[in-house]
Amino acid sequence: MEIALIGNPNTGKTSLFNNLTGSYAYVGNWSGVTVEKKVGVFKNNIGHLIDLPGVYTLNPLSKDEGVVTSFFLNESVDRLLNILDASQLERNLHLTLQLLEFEKPALIGLNMIDVANKRGIHIDSSKLSEILGVPVVPVVARSGKGCDKLVDVIATKSMQPTKKNLVYYGKEVEEAVTTLTGELKGKTSHSARFLAIQYFEGNEYVKNYVNSIADTQKLNAIKANLELKLQKQYDSKSLANFIYLKRKEVIENIVAEVARKSNSIIPLSEKIDSIVTNRYLGMPIFLLLMYLMFMLTFDWLGTPLSDTLDALLTGPVTNGFETVLNAIHASAFIHALIIEGLIAGVGGVLVFVPQIFILFFFISLLEDSGYMARVALVMDRIMESVGLNGKAFIPMMIGFGCNVPGIMAARTIETPRERLLTILLTPLMSCSARLPVYALFVGAFFAGNKAFIVLSLYVLGIVVALILAKIFSTTILKSETSLFVIELPPYRLPQFQSLWRSTWDKGKGFVRKAGTFIFAGSVFIWLLSYAGPGGLNVDMDHSFLAKIGNVIAPIFAPIGFGTWQATASLITGFLAKEAIISTMNIIYFVPNDASLQGLLANYYTPLSAYSFMVFILLYIPCLATVATIYKETNSKKWTAFSMIYAFAIAYILSLIIYQGGKLFGWV
């Protein structure tokens, strides 16, 4: 049995999804966090639950919302599970009425009854069920209360809506619906009444669908005729508005019958909001939070953990492998492959797992608590001035964790131009895979002010993105339309379990990459460095890797790192940014206890190290990101553009920093 979960944004849809399906998706507070279609298996195996993006209506404004409409038109589903926010019943019922017109078996999960009760709203769910003609089950999705009952109802009851035509749209509209239904008769398996009303409302997806099965001109004529009639008779602004008002009337009657209001308590949200979105305090509070996040990740908590892990890997783990290899009399080749290739390559990346998990934990915390939407509000003024939109800040924040979900999160931006711009600029956000490179270099060259140097790179990424946004939006991506209306969900105290699960969900990709991509890459790079034209086990400087690196290295000489080692690591860095570290660990491998950090001092100066980090920050996005950009823009031109401009900017900035620094006498 296929069941689709649908509801307004921020109604706890994702929490309900997680509670019903044992498998975890993701919980966030930012409007429309569910940008992908997700399918879960019900805990008691009664079927599949399909998680749809949050929408206010079936008539979509953005691509994200279009997912829902095309799902309705093109895919089959057995049951609809509509989740409602009890504290916002009027608004939520607009969607419900449209869903019921679809005439598929449906049921309603009435969520946030606790929030509603606190606001003094009490809803009689059995009466609501009676009026709508479908089962209504009260739930608290965050705690899981009522979910068992919901599953029982899904599994047992028949849910064919018992009432048809809940909304009477007036004589004129109903007549036109009948005419249009006649045109569609026998040509579709969907409810013709649903199609007709959506068509009248101006739903583009439905319009394309009905035009493909019926005579476009006839349909057009019916709609135009109806519009004319309504304008004459009721002086209505538009057909869509007329339909909206009819629904609203019905909803007002329903709410009057089922909801009872009493005294409410002022929600805590408003008290917090008066501080964090305060005129003057908003921005400083945001910067302070970012600063705390970085200090915890790099200085206070992350670095000690990473150091411990590093000691464990280079000490006991390496020794253990040595013992085993000696015991089984492994050949010199295998011995070198495992110790110099795998442990150095994979281990060098694994060391940074604690820091990456801490960073992901904070990003999840910001999302789950509801602060992310406030950040969008606080940042909108700055973003607007460069031709972007406050909402673009959220993909960018997520991009700090990983650029791939960041770029995908840009789907919630309604206007295509702002969305494309956000996609192009999100790779400039310093993702967690770049972190190990910084961590290594700041450890070697800037031990005194680690967090500050790393923060400077993150800020540089943001500043470059903002400047480029301004340049792109006034040249190649010019347009006037911009849309910024953002819902600010109430604050929610994040639950530790869901925080941990979403941190793990994001972070496990990094661990998995270390086990697969980095593992294979390490073997490959090590082989290239072990073999050369002269045979196996050659001196590294005469290896294939050195030969390849030497060809390209002169290009990087003006920006401070024209060595074949740096070049080789940059090439592997395109596959995955953390591969830079694996490559360096293999290339600079020394059997005695000298650490990579100490060795680097022979190859870099602090200035060239900084130039190198800036280059890593900005140059070509990694393979996975490039693939995502192509998928999201569906344009080879823009994908190529995103790679070329990034490389150019990286080179120019590194050149300015290195040559400028030399002029000032820094080394």
């Binding site: 206010y56 209506t57 404004l61 504290s87 916002q88 009027e90 608004r91 607009h94 606001r119 602004k237 909206y244 949200s269 408003e270 909001d273 008066s274 979105t277 305060n278 005129r279 003057y280 908003g282 939407a373 969008a376 509000l377 606080v378 909108d380 003024r381 607007e384 406050g390 309604e414 206007t415 339309t481 849309l483 910024f484 209306v485 953002i486 819902e487 600010l488 109430p490």
Partner: protein, 74 residues
């Protein structure tokens, strides 16, 4: 207009038709239209967005649109 209200002021929307189509649609989705009561929660500095509350939910809109929404003070 909404932009002339100060934080804490309340008003009733009397005309929203001058607002761009997209924004008008999105506000309608959120239940904010002619006849809705709104309360200004806070106003961001330097001509930034305005946070309004209507029927128990908070929504952020830009000043550009807030100027186009006519309200009567209540």
């Amino acid at each position: 207009m909404v932009a002339s209200l100060k934080a804490g002021d309340k008003g009733k929307i009397i005309d929203i038709s001058h607002v761009g189509n997209l924004v008008q649609r999105r506000l309608l989705d959120l239940g904010i239209t002619e006849g809705s009561e709104v309360c200004v929660k806070c106003v961001m500095p330097f001509g930034g967005p305005i946070m309004i509350e209507s029927c128990g939910q908070c929504v952020g809109i830009r000043r550009r649109e807030a100027v186009q929404i006519e309200v009567e003070r209540i």
